[in-house]
C-alpha cells in the first residue's frame, strides 16, 4: 500500500477512536479501541491473514499514540487479535468469520461490566463503608447495582491527584443517592480504620495477578493490608495483560507515562508516573466477568487465552 494511503487510514482511525471516547464518557479505552478495530475490519479488504494482522497491529500503534491508558488499549487490542485469529484460518471466507468473531468479542466486552457488577455487589453489605480511589467506571457500576439492591452504604473516595478525578466520582455517586465523602490522597491512613473494605478498578491486570492502576493505588493497598481490610479489585477480563513486572521500575515506561510525555520529555526521572503497580499479595479478590478470582488465578486465565 502506498504511504500516502497509510496516512489517510491513520487519521481515520484516530478520528474514529477519539470520537468514540468523546461521545461515550462511560466507555473504557479498550472497548473504544476494539470498536474502532471492528469498524476498520468492515472496511478492510485484506486478502491474507498476515495482512489483516498487520492492519490491526498498525491501527493499535496509532491508537496508542493518544493519551488514553496505554495498558487498557494494549490489552484490549491484543486479546481481540488473539480471539479472532483462533478461528479456522484455512477457510477462504476468513474475512467474514473474523468479523463475526470480532463482533462477538466486542459484545462480550460491553456486557462484561454488567455481569461483574452483579457479582461484586454481593460483597457490599448493608451499612458498609467503602474506600475507593479516584474515578472508575466499573466500580461506579458495582456501587450503582448495590444501591439498586436497596443497600445503604457510605463511600470514601480519594480526590486522586493529579487530575482530581475523585470529585467526578463523588458527583456521580451523589447523583445515585450514595453518601460520598472526598478525602485527601494522604488521608487514606486516617480513614482506613473506619473503612470495611477497599474497592478499586484497574487499568491492567498483570500475569502475576497484580494490577496497574492510577497512581496512589499501591499505598492504599499497603495500608489496607497493614490494617487487615480486604482489598478488592473490580476489572474486566479484557484488561488482562501478558506482562510480569517485578517491581515499579520494571513496569514498562509506556505504561507509566502518557504518550505525549514520552515524546516530549528527555529526562523521565523528573516526570511523575501516572500509574503504579500493586503486587498480587496485597489483593484479596478480583471480580471479573470470568468470575471471582484470587490473584493466582489470573495467570491461569491468561494461559487459557493465549496458549
Amino acid at each position: 500500500m502506498p504511504s500516502h494511503r497509510d496516512g489517510v487510514v491513520e487519521t481515520e482511525i484516530l478520528t474514529n477512536f477519539n470520537k468514540l471516547m468523546d461521545e461515550n464518557p462511560d466507555m473504557s479505552p479498550a472497548v473504544a479501541a476494539v470498536t474502532t478495530l471492528v469498524n476498520l475490519m468492515k472496511k478492510s479488504n485484506a486478502g491474507t491473514m498476515s495482512e489483516l494482522r498487520d492492519t490491526i497491529h498498525k491501527a493499535e500503534e496509532v491508537m496508542l499514540t493518544t493519551d488514553y491508558s496505554y495498558t487498557s488499549i494494549h490489552s484490549g487490542c491484543d486479546q481481540f487479535l488473539r480471539y479472532i485469529t483462533l478461528a479456522n484460518t484455512l477457510d477462504t471466507n476468513f474475512q467474514k468469520i473474523m468479523l463475526q468473531r470480532g463482533q462477538s468479542f466486542m459484545d462480550k466486552m460491553i456486557k462484561a461490566r454488567e455481569s461483574i457488577a452483579k457479582l461484586a455487589a454481593g460483597f457490599i453489605d448493608d451499612g458498609a463503608t467503602i474506600l475507593t480511589h479516584g474515578h472508575s467506571r466499573v466500580v461506579l457500576e458495582v456501587m450503582k447495582t448495590a444501591a439498586n439492591q436497596k443497600k445503604r452504604f457510605t463511600v470514601y473516595v480519594t480526590e486522586s491527584s493529579p487530575d482530581k478525578s475523585g470529585y467526578q466520582m463523588e458527583k456521580e455517586l451523589t447523583k445515585l443517592g450514595i453518601p460520598t465523602v472526598v478525602i485527601l490522597d494522604f488521608g487514606i491512613g486516617y480513614i482506613m480504620e473506619k473503612v470495611q473494605l477497599v474497592m478499586v478498578g484497574a487499568e491492567g491486570v498483570m500475569e502475576s495477578g497484580g494490577i496497574i492502576n492510577k497512581i496512589g493505588t499501591y499505598p492504599i493497598a499497603i495500608c489496607a493490608k497493614q490494617m487487615n481490610k480486604p482489598f478488592y479489585v473490580v476489572t474486566e477480563s479484557f484488561k488482562f495483560v501478558r506482562e510480569y513486572p517485578l517491581n515499579q521500575m520494571d513496569v514498562p515506561d509506556r505504561f507509566k507515562y502518557r504518550a505525549s510525555k514520552l515524546k516530549s520529555s528527555k529526562d523521565l526521572s523528573k516526570e511523575h508516573p501516572i500509574v503504579d503497580y500493586t503486587p498480587p499479595e496485597y489483593i484479596d479478590l478480583l471480580f471479573t466477568d470470568l468470575g471471582v478470582l484470587t490473584s493466582s488465578a489470573v495467570s491461569d486465565e491468561l494461559i487459557n487465552m493465549y496458549c
Partner: protein
Amino acid sequence: MPAGDGDKANDLKERIALFVDELKKGTSQGSCDVAIKTINLLIRIISQTKFSTEKDLIRHVAAEGSKIQAGDPSENIIGNIIFRVLKIIRDEWREISQANDTEAQISHTLKASIIEAVSEFKTEIEGCVDNIAALAPNYINENDVVLTIGRSRTVEALFKHAASKGIKFQVLVSECAPFYKGHEMAKNLAQAKINTTLITECQIGIVMPRVNKVVIGTHSIMANGGLKAVTGTNILSVLAKETNKPVIVCSSMYKLSPLFHSTPKHASFNKFATPSEILDYEDAELLSKVEVMAPIFDYVPPHLVYMILSNNGAQPVSYVYRLVKDFYHPDDVEQPTNS
C-alpha cells in the same frame, strides 16, 4: 415437574421431610453423614423424574435441592453436593449429546449414566476419610508434637493410621469449649494408645512454641480458601502463624464450597447453639442482665492455612480457586446477596 408413580412420589416427599426435620433438629452424625443422605435423596429425585431436556432436570433438581437446603441454610455441605450433582448432570449431558444424534436416544441414556456418575461420586465420598488417613505417614513423623482442636473424624482416622504404622508421636487436643468435643477425641486417641494430652483453649498460646504442626478438621472450605471451622480454630490459627507453625487442614473435597465468605455479616455463614453449656438454666435470673452467645463457627482467613490435605492429596490454599472451577458450574451457583 410431576414425578411418576404416586406412591413413590409420596415416599420421596416423606424422605425429604424426614431429612429436613433432622437438619432442623441438628441430629445428623457429622458432615459425611449429611453428604451421603443428601446424595441418596438426589439419586431418588433424579430417578423418579421424567424429563425431556437436561435443562428441565437441572431446574427440577435445583428446586428440590433448595427445599432440602432450607432445613439448615448454614449447612454448606448440602449446597456443595447439590451443585456437584448439577455439574455432573451438565457433564453427562454434554458427553452423551456429542455421541448421539437423536433426542430420544439422548434422554434414554442420560438418566442411567447420570445416576451411575452420581453413585460413583457417592462412593468417592464414602472413601474420603480412609483416603486422607492413608496419607498420614507422609505428614506425621516420629517424635512429632501435633496440636488439634475438638473432634474431627478425619483427623482422628489420620492419627490412628499413623499410630498403626508404628509412628510414635504426641497429640495435644484442645477441648473445644463449650461443647467439649475434644474430650471425646482425647479419649478415642488414648484408647488407640496414642500419647494424648488434653488442654483448654486458653493454653494454646503456652503450648504452641513446642508444637511441630497443627492438624485440624473443618466444617467447610470457602471458595477463597478460608475455613468455616469450629469456634476456637481462628485463634488457634492466629497463634500458629505467630510462631510460624504450619496449619494443616484435613478435609474431603466435598467440603469445598463455591461460596465466598465475604463479610462477618454473611447471612448464612454462622449458626448459634443453645448457650446452656456456658450459663446454666439455674442462673436464669442473670439472663436479663447479660447476653450469652454460643456461635458454632469461626472464619479462618486463607493466609493462616498452610495446606489442605484432601482425598485428592495435598493442595495449597492458593489452588482452591482452580478446584472450585473444576467442581462447580457458575450458572448453578449464585452468590448470596446479603439483603
